[in-house]
C-alpha cells in the first residue's frame, strides 16, 4: 500500500431551508469553495419549531456540506452569521483531512 498524502481543510455543515439554497451555493462559490453537496432532510426540530417533509406546506431543512480552505470557510461564516439573523438554520464547522489538496 503506497503512502497517501493528506491535507487539512475546513468542513462546513449548513442546515437551511430550500429557498436559500441557490443564494447560499452562489455565496460558497464566491467565498472560494470549489465544491459542495446538498442533502434533503426528512424531519427535524429547531428554534423555529419542528417540521416533517410531507410534500404539503412544510419548510424542511437541507444540509449543505462544503469542504474548503479555512479562509473560504471564514468568509462563508461571516455571511451566514448575518443570514441567520433573519432566517432559520444553523452552521457547524470542523476540521477534516482530504486527499488531493489541489482540488480544494
Amino acid at each position: 500500500m503506497k503512502a497517501v498524502t493528506s491535507h487539512k481543510r475546513t468542513k462546513l455543515e449548513i442546515f437551511v431551508e430550500q429557498h436559500a439554497l441557490e443564494r447560499i451555493e452562489a455565496m460558497l462559490g464566491e467565498a472560494g469553495f470549489s465544491g459542495w453537496s446538498v442533502f434533503a432532510g426528512v424531519e427535524g426540530s429547531g428554534a423555529h419549531g419542528a417540521w416533517r417533509q410531507t410534500g404539503v406546506g412544510e419548510s424542511a431543512a437541507y444540509l449543505v456540506i462544503a469542504i474548503g480552505a479555512e479562509t473560504s470557510a471564514q468568509t462563508a461564516l461571516a455571511w451566514l452569521s448575518d443570514y441567520f439573523k433573519s432566517y432559520p438554520g444553523i452552521v457547524a464547522s470542523s476540521e477534516v483531512t482530504v486527499l488531493r489538496d489541489d482540488r480544494f
Binding site: H19, A20, T54, G55, G57, Y83, K85, S86
Partner: protein, 328 residues
Amino acid sequence: MDVLEAAGGAAAANLLAPAILFFALGAFAGWARSDLAIPDQVAKTLALYLMLSIGFKGGVEARASGLSADLLTAGGIGLAMGFLAPFAAYAALRAVCRLDRLTAAATAAHYGSVSVVTFAAGSEYLRAIGVEFGGYMAAVLALMETPAILAALIIVGARARDPATPYKPQLWREVLLNGAAVLLIGSFIIGAVTGERGMDRLELFVGPLFQGALCLFLLDMGLVAARRLADAPQLRASMILFAIVWPMLSAGAALLAAQASGLSIGDATLIAVLAASASYIAAPAAMRVALPRADAGVYLPMSLGVTFPFNLIVGIPLYHAAARLLMG
C-alpha cells in the same frame, strides 16, 4: 323550508363522498399516530397533477364557451377580494387574536390567498349535485393566488426586510413564478389552445383519474392536518374562532358581490369557496422568504388544521346553500 332541507341533504351527500371520507380516514390515522404516510415526492406530484388537471379542464371549457363577460366579472371580484381581504383580516387578527404584526400579516396573506384542493373539492361537489359553473373559474383561482401575498408585504412595509442581512431573496420569483401558479396558468392556456382536440387525448388523464388522485391527496391532507393540529398546542381559542368565522364572512362577502354582478349560482358558489379558502402551499412558501420572523406555528395550523377541514366538510355545502338562498 325546501332550500334548507335540500342543503341538509346535499351536506350529507358531501360528507359521504369518497374523497371526504378519505380525508377523514387520513385525519383519524394522523390523530391516532399511525405510521400511514404518503411519500412526500408522491404528494408533491399529486398536487402538481391536480393543478394541471384543473387548469387544463378549465382552459378547454373556457375556450368552448368563449371569453365571456362572466370571466371578467368573476376575475374582478376575485382580484379585488384577494387584494382587499388581507387588510381587513390583518386588523381582525391584531384585534381579536392579538398576533404580532408580522405573524398577523403573514396569516392575512394565507386567508386572502386560496387553496387549490378546496377549489377542487368544491367543483367536484357541484358536479356531483349537477350544478353548472364556468370553466374560467380555474383562471379566477389562478388570479387569486398572489394578490394577498402582495397585500401582506404592503401591510408590513419596509419593516419586513432586515437591513443587517446581505441576503436579498428574489421575492417576485417566489411569488409570481411559484411552481403551482405557473403550472395552473400554463395548463389553462394549453387547454384553451388545444381545446376539444387536446381534450380527446387527455380525457381519461384529467377526468376519471382525477377522482382517485383527489382521494389519495385528501388522505394525505388529512394526515398532515391532524399532525399539524397535534403539534400546535399554542393554538388559542381566538385563533380557532378566526379560522372558522373568517371564511364564512369572506364567503358571504363574495356571494353578495357575485349576486350584485349577476353571476350564476355555480360561479357564485365557487367564488365563495375561493374567498373562504386559505392557502397552505403558495402562501407559506412566500412567507418563509418574505417574512421569516412571522410564526409558522400560527398560520399553518390555522389554515391547514382548522380552515381546510372546515371548508371541506361544512363550508362547501353551506356556501352553496347560501348561494341558492340568495340567488335561487
